[in-house]
Structure formats: structure tokens, C-alpha cells
Amino acid sequence: MSNSAVVVPRNFRLLEELERGEKGFGDGNVSYGMDDGEDVFMRSWTGTVIGPSNTVHDGRIYTVKLYCDKDYPDKPPAVRFESRINMACVNQESGVVEPRSFPMLANWRRDFTMENILTELRREMQTGQNRKLPQPPEGSTFTC
């Protein structure tokens, strides 16, 4: 870390992400919001990813849970698909996005955001094998 860098503390960083999420951004293919509007520590979030066209995910709306602990954004959030999806980096029992097969989490940097994670997950749906993998019924969820 450069020693001249200004470090935005966790809570103010999450407030920025909250405001960006509320305003909306990009083409609307990914979005997110906070689960409990009264949680002063802003821990629990829900993201959505719209499946990219020309893939088996086309038009599906995936719900992704993100949990930002006290050490966010020094450490990545815990990320888990609520919607069932068959994808290499997603644990097929729990829906957890496995950091070891999802480089953005494994090589986390403090300036990465929840938006970056959701965008990267959407990109992942378009890659070689993931775009063609057979998928569970639309709308089914991981149960845990």
C-alpha cells in the first residue's frame, strides 16, 4: 500500500456503495441493495445478476448474498448464490462462491467493490465451459 494513500474506513466505504446501489449504475445487469435498513454496520446485502444473452443463463435473474464483516473491505465479503446455478466457482451444495476458483476473491484488493464482484460473476457466466453447463430449473434455490 502506498503510504500517501487515503484509506476510506469501512463504514464510509459501505455508505458510498449503498448510495451508488440506490442510484443505480451501468446497464442494470447487476444491482445490489442492503438487507436491513436499520443495521448501522451494513453487513448483509443482496445482489442480482441478469444472465447474459447467448449463454444458458440468458434472461435468468440470479440472487446473490454478500456479507461484509467487520474487516471489509480489507477482506472480501462472503459471497453466496441464493438462486441455484451450475457454475465452476459455485459450491453445488451451498451456493458459496469459492475464492479458490474465483480469482477476484482470492486476490482481493481493498478498492474492489460489491459491484465489481457481481460484474465479475456475470462475466464468469460467459466463459468457455460456464456458458454451456446444464442448469437447474429456473427459480430454484440453494437450501442452507
Binding site: V8, N11, G37
Partner: protein, 156 residues
């Protein structure tokens, strides 16, 4: 780490911090965090004759990179029933937004927040429901504010 941050900290911030520590404003304390000298732990005592009297309110304050050209970011961590403060502790105060001037300081910001506790302004609300409560039944709203002060701000 602290030393290297410190050496890059603008002189203005160092001066303000020293003064906050050596001559604290009455009922207000602000001290920088050890890991991040732009991040302050703030305590404000509820002003006398206000519904927040007897309460000790915890806030956090951050000086962004472009401070003092941009205002500090401040919010309440202690729950508070006030028409200009929302559920996440965000504060509606003109000097934190368009009325900011680099001539203001951390101290003036915190004094203004303390004054806001003495003079809630339901005509410029952030928490719509609380503002409505304030305008339709001020006695009852003030009673709720006192109750919340007792429940959440009783100096733990």
C-alpha cells in the same frame, strides 16, 4: 504505519487534531483512530434542555482526500430519534453538503451537530416519519426522543 500516515497528513489536519485534543469543545470529544488519522471517534453529550439530555452519542467522522475543499463525512453510530438523522445515522445538515466552506473545521461541524440536537428542524427532514411525528405531535415526538436517549444513549 501510523508514523508514515502522519508524515503525509496535511498540516491543516494535524493542527486541527492537536487543538481538538488540547482544547476540546464542551460536551464534545473527538480523537483520531490509531490506524487512520483521518478517521475520528467522536462523542457528543446530549445538550441540556433538549430531548437528548443525559445521552452520550457516539459518532464517526472521516476527512476525505480533498478535505478541506470537501466537507468531512460524519454519522451517528448511536441510534437517535431526530427528524434530521436517518436510521443509518446519516445527518441532514447544510454545512455537510452545499453550505460547506473550507473556512469551517471539524470543531465547527461538531458544534453544529450538537446545536442540531438542541434545535431539530422537521421542515428539512431526512427521516420523513420522525419529521411528521414532530410536526403533528411535538410533545409525543419529544417523549419518544427521550425514551430512545434512555434506551440507546445512556452512556455505556
Amino acid at each position: 504505519m501510523a508514523a508514515s500516515c502522519n508524515s503525509n497528513l496535511p498540516r491543516r489536519i494535524i493542527k486541527e487534531t492537536q487543538r481538538l485534543l488540547s482544547e476540546p469543545a464542551p460536551g464534545i470529544s473527538a480523537s483520531p483512530s490509531e490506524e487512520n488519522l483521518r478517521y475520528f471517534n467522536v462523542m457528543i453529550l446530549g445538550p441540556n434542555q433538549s430531548p437528548y439530555e443525559g445521552g452520550l452519542f457516539k459518532l464517526e467522522l472521516f476527512l476525505p482526500e480533498d478535505y478541506p475543499m470537501a466537507p468531512p463525512k460524519v454519522r451517528f453510530l448511536t441510534k437517535i430519534y431526530h427528524p434530521n438523522i436517518d436510521k443509518l445515522g446519516r445527518i441532514c445538515l447544510d454545512i455537510l453538503k452545499d453550505k460547506w466552506s473550507p473556512a469551517l473545521q471539524i470543531r465547527t461541524v461538531l458544534l453544529s451537530i450538537q446545536a442540531l440536537l438542541s434545535a431539530p428542524n422537521p421542515d428539512d427532514p431526512l427521516a420523513e416519519n420522525i419529521a411528521k411525528h414532530w410536526k403533528t405531535n411535538e410533545t409525543e415526538a419529544v417523549a419518544t426522543a427521550r425514551e430512545w436517549t434512555r434506551m440507546y444513549a445512556s452512556g455505556v
